[in-house]
């Protein structure tokens, strides 16, 4: 039912991997960062993002006329997975590089592409996702935020919530209603806007997550005047565009590699107490991760071929999110019976951080229940 094509790494991808590993080792050595669990949402460091931009590791697949580097999808995959495996502070640019940029490349005007993409690729422009609202989570089509046409643009009003990184972002892609639903069909009449977050009338307030970090936000749009060209793509096509964005959002290695850094940190300790029980856990985790990575590479390959692997992406995210929980629980099991004084420095905190991030895996980017529904629909069950 779901076939995942093979993505091959060429020698240049392997060379790139070595380069990235070298960079990460240097950064670690020079105390550039402390590895973090869930780093693509928890660890934002604009300075680090700029360094990546300078090396040509952002916007890698975009054309050079927009600041990109014309590289194949495989190269971007190498960079992102190495960053995740190292727990590097990539949160500042993550959303812009992963989805907003590619989305603008696909739907944006020449002007939008020229002003924003080079800055994203340089690691100087960060973006946020404005889909969810207080009354519209899983039921995204229930959003109330609206944009009204005026003589010289649009007026945006409403409230978005849970936008990761909006507090340090320059732009947000906002899904808004531009005309009423047609009866029960609420997916019509929605449009996307590329909103400059420095405009008057926008109020962003941080929300602390379970662990106390202010990582997501509520954003109020109080009659914000948007220029004509803030519209992204076609008026009324917002739902379809949003779904395309979600395919970019759901398929990547960040859906199964966020807890690995914690396990890696503990592995030498577990090795010191190696026994059959612990070996089985490590082996099973290895098998699961390697297979999921192969599938995630397959989704990347489908994107490269211009296919729309939306459901395949859901398959990867669904299994990946489950695995993340599994890894941390199994890790706790492996640590059982090892005296605390043997634990490496700072490991308590790292494990704790991973545990406190776990509930978000199966929520953000579409909940487990919603993803399973999408997969079932693809099989004709709904």
């Amino acid at each position: 039912m779901f076939q995942f094509p093979r993505l091959e790494f060429d020698p240049s991808a392997d060379a790139l991997r070595e380069e990235v590993r070298g960079f990460l080792a240097d950064e670690l050595q020079s105390d550039g960062f402390t590895p973090a669990a869930d780093c693509w949402v928890s660890a934002a460091d604009p300075e680090f993002s700029r360094k990546m931009g300078a090396r040509g590791w952002l916007g890698m697949t975009w054309p050079s006329e927009f600041g990109g580097h014309d590289r194949p999808v495989a190269h971007r995959f190498v960079v992102t997975e190495e960053m995740l495996a190292a727990g590097a502070p990539v949160a500042a640019h993550w959303i812009a590089d992963r989805q907003t940029g590619s989305h603008i490349l696909r739907y944006g005007t020449q002007e939008q592409k020229q002003t924003i993409l080079p800055r994203i690729a340089a690691g100087e422009c960060f973006t946020a996702i404005g889909m969810s609202e207080p009354q519209a989570g899983s039921d995204l089509a229930a959003i109330k935020t609206s944009a009204r046409r005026t003589d010289n643009g649009w007026v945006l009003s409403g409230r978005k919530i849970w936008s990761t990184g909006a507090h340090f972002s320059h732009y947000m892609i906002v899904l808004a209603r531009t005309s009423p639903a047609e009866g029960r069909n609420r997916q019509v009449g929605l449009s996307q806007f590329l909103v400059d977050l420095s405009l008057p009338g926008i109020d962003i307030s941080g929300i602390r997550d379970l662990g106390g970090t202010p990582h997501f936000n509520e954003t109020l749009f109080d009659n914000v005047e948007l220029p004509e060209d803030a519209l992204l793509g076609t008026e009324g096509n917002g739902w379809a565009q949003c779904m395309g964005e979600l395919a970019l959002e759901r398929s990547g290695p960040e859906r199964f590699l966020t807890s690995l850094v914690v396990l890696e940190k503990a592995l030498p300790l577990i090795a010191a107490y190696a026994d059959a029980r612990r070996a089985v856990e490590v082996g099973s985790i290895l098998a699961n991760l390697r297979v999921l990575r192969r599938m995630s590479l397959g989704v990347a390959e489908m994107l490269e071929r211009g296919e729309s692997p939306a459901t395949a992406a859901c398959v990867v995210k669904e299994m990946g999110n489950r695995l993340e929980n599994d890894i941390v629980q199994r890790l706790r099991g492996m640590l059982a019976g090892i005296p605390r004084h043997a634990w490496p420095d700072g490991f308590d905190g790292l494990l704790r951080e991973a545990i406190l991030h776990l509930p978000s895996n199966t929520l953000r980017g579409g909940t487990t229940e919603i993803l399973r529904g999408i997969i079932a629909r693809e099989m004709g069950m709904r």
Binding site: M1, E264, L286, A287, R294, A376
Partner: protein, 337 residues
């Protein structure tokens, strides 16, 4: 052999299996005149010698080419030792021996006392011991069937006296490699059976109505089906990955064995989940001998354990990681094939 040739070979097998009375053959335990007729067709069409060299009358296919055929036969729940025989004849041919036209079961070199799959459906078994491949003829009196097993799995009551071939194994064919090849075939069979389970479950839940609507309309049932689909996709990907590794190194070096360990582990884990979800979605009907689901789930549970369970293979993988000087998973996860 190129892709087109191979696609034709697979199509041919699919046709043969579609036409054969597989349900009846299965109910007869893979024995009897219908089973014999099926086997004869398979033999005459050249399937049993797929991996034997052309000089030995075979097709000279790579060992990795067995995998799609194994999955296909499993999708049909074909009670015949086809994949095991192809592997056995391929190995004998690689050892320079003309493989005889027999149905051949495989003795696990690392667990020689485990039940031998297909024992009662075969007329010979292949063992690897002390660097020698031995093909031994078996009679029905040599076998004690194991209670409630599929595919005629049984134990040898005595060492078979009639040794047909006794030759030096190819140098690369160490016991771990032999077992890994057989385990990979089981992994591929599991993936194929899971595909069949998915199809059955979709059909059944669309047809069966409760509370005035098809089961497929209930979200809880949709979630079971999504689970089955995800796990099946993972199993298929795992087998493909190991197959790629085997293509790159037909002599089954350590990297291939690792990749097979991953496949057998992942498929074994998937099998449990898939079988449980499918039975739940089927209700009591799935628990009958008559309905087709059991033909697949019984095999899934058996194949999980043949040639190393997921626990054994995972332990092997994990041990290697933990024995490293600087134990880390990432280099292994991101390793190229």
């Amino acid at each position: 052999m190129d892709r087109d040739d191979f696609a034709m070979i697979a199509e041919g097998l699919d046709r043969i299996l579609t036409d054969a009375p597989l349900d009846a053959i299965d109910k007869a335990g893979g024995l009897g005149t219908e089973a014999d007729a099926l086997w004869q067709t398979l033999e005459e069409s050249g399937y049993t010698l797929l991996c034997a060299s052309e000089g030995h009358g075979g097709s000279g296919a790579a060992l990795a080419d067995i995998l799609p055929l194994a999955a296909l036969a499993a999708r049909h729940a074909a009670a015949a030792p086809l994949a095991d025989t192809i592997l056995a004849t391929g190995l004998l041919s690689a050892a320079g021996q003309q493989p005889p036209a027999l149905r051949i079961g495989l003795i696990d070199p690392l667990a020689p006392d485990a039940p031998i799959a297909h024992a009662s459906q075969s007329n010979a078994v292949l063992s690897l011991e002390d660097g020698r491949l031995r093909l031994m003829r078996i009679e029905s009196g040599d076998i004690r069937s194991v209670h409630q097993t599929e595919d005629g799995a049984g134990k040898l009551l005595r060492q078979p006296a009639d040794v047909l071939v006794d030759c030096a194994a190819p140098e690369w064919l160490i016991p771990d490699a032999f077992r890994a090849l057989a385990a990979l075939i089981r992994a591929s069979q599991m993936a194929g059976a899971m595909e069949a389970v998915l199809g059955l479950s979709l059909d059944y839940t669309r047809d069966r109505e409760q509370f005035g609507r098809p089961l497929a309309k209930f979200q809880a049932i949709q979630h079971h089906l999504s689970d089955i689909a995800c796990e099946t996709a993972a199993a298929m990907a795992a087998v493909e990955m190991a197959g790629d590794a085997l293509c790159a190194d037909a002599k089954v070096g350590p990297r291939v064995i690792d990749e097979i360990a991953i496949a057998k582990t992942r498929c074994g884990e998937a099998a449990s989940r898939v079988a449980a979800a499918a039975h739940q979605a089927h209700g009591a009907m799935g628990f009958t001998r008559e309905y087709a689901l059991g033909r697949y789930t019984r095999r899934l549970w058996q194949w999980q354990d043949e040639f190393g369970s997921e626990t054994e293979w995972a332990e092997l993988l994990g041990k290697a990681v933990l024995a490293d000087n600087e134990p880390r998973l990432w280099p292994r996860i991101s390793q190229p094939i």
